[in-house]
């Protein structure tokens, strides 16, 4: 299967996001009962900086041989479509979370939805899900075509 440089960059970014956040969420959710408070600002900033640096390195490495790095009309159209899908995923997650807050009795036995740390991690997970949707949708349309 022959991937373009753009697709390789997307796969690399998706991999970095899944690896780093997968490791982060695994640690956070398994220790939720021991550590119910949300993480500090410094921890979150370090995590986001790590992601940004890793993605920049990968993008620079993947596009090293690619002469044309500017997005053309097809790239912009695929990006717009993928943002639409990631918006819907994020909206659905936020609506679910709002529904939980309003109807607290449904999930009050789950620490992930009742502790401040759990709720923080869950909201962060929603953003990551939206980002993953963004990457996957782009890959789908680059493969399938418009």
């Amino acid at each position: 299967m022959d991937f373009s440089y753009k697709e390789k960059g997307l796969i690399a970014s998706l991999g970095v996001t899944l690896l780093v956040f997968g490791w982060y969420f695994y640690g956070s959710f398994t220790n939720l009962k021991l550590n119910p408070e949300p993480p500090g600002i410094v921890e979150i900033i370090i995590l986001i900086v790590w992601i940004a640096v890793l993605e920049s390195i990968i993008q620079a490495f993947v596009s090293f041989k690619n002469k044309s790095q500017l997005a053309d009309e097809r790239d912009k159209l695929i990006e717009k479509i993928s943002y639409r899908y990631s918006y819907w995923v994020l909206s659905a997650c936020i609506w679910f979370f709002m529904g939980h807050i309003l109807l607290n009795a449904w999930f009050d036995h789950l620490p992930i939805l009742t502790t401040p740390g759990g709720m923080f991690h869950l909201l962060l997970l929603f953003f990551v899900l939206a980002e993953v949707t963004h990457f996957l949708t782009q890959l789908y349309y680059y493969r399938k075509g418009l």
């Binding site: 373009s4 053309d72 009309e73 097809r74 075509g145 418009l146």
Partner: protein, 50 residues
Amino acid sequence: MSQQTLAEKVGVTRQTIIAIEKDKYSPSLEVAFKICIEFSVPLEAVFNYK
């Protein structure tokens, strides 16, 4: 003319030219006209609607 050369003249990436050739992308009118101008042929000679 190579795909890269055509892409540079028309203002898109080589991958977009490949996608057009494989019928995986319908370009905008602007790009379609630019392609036809490059080959000095009418629009109907290059693109058809189905």
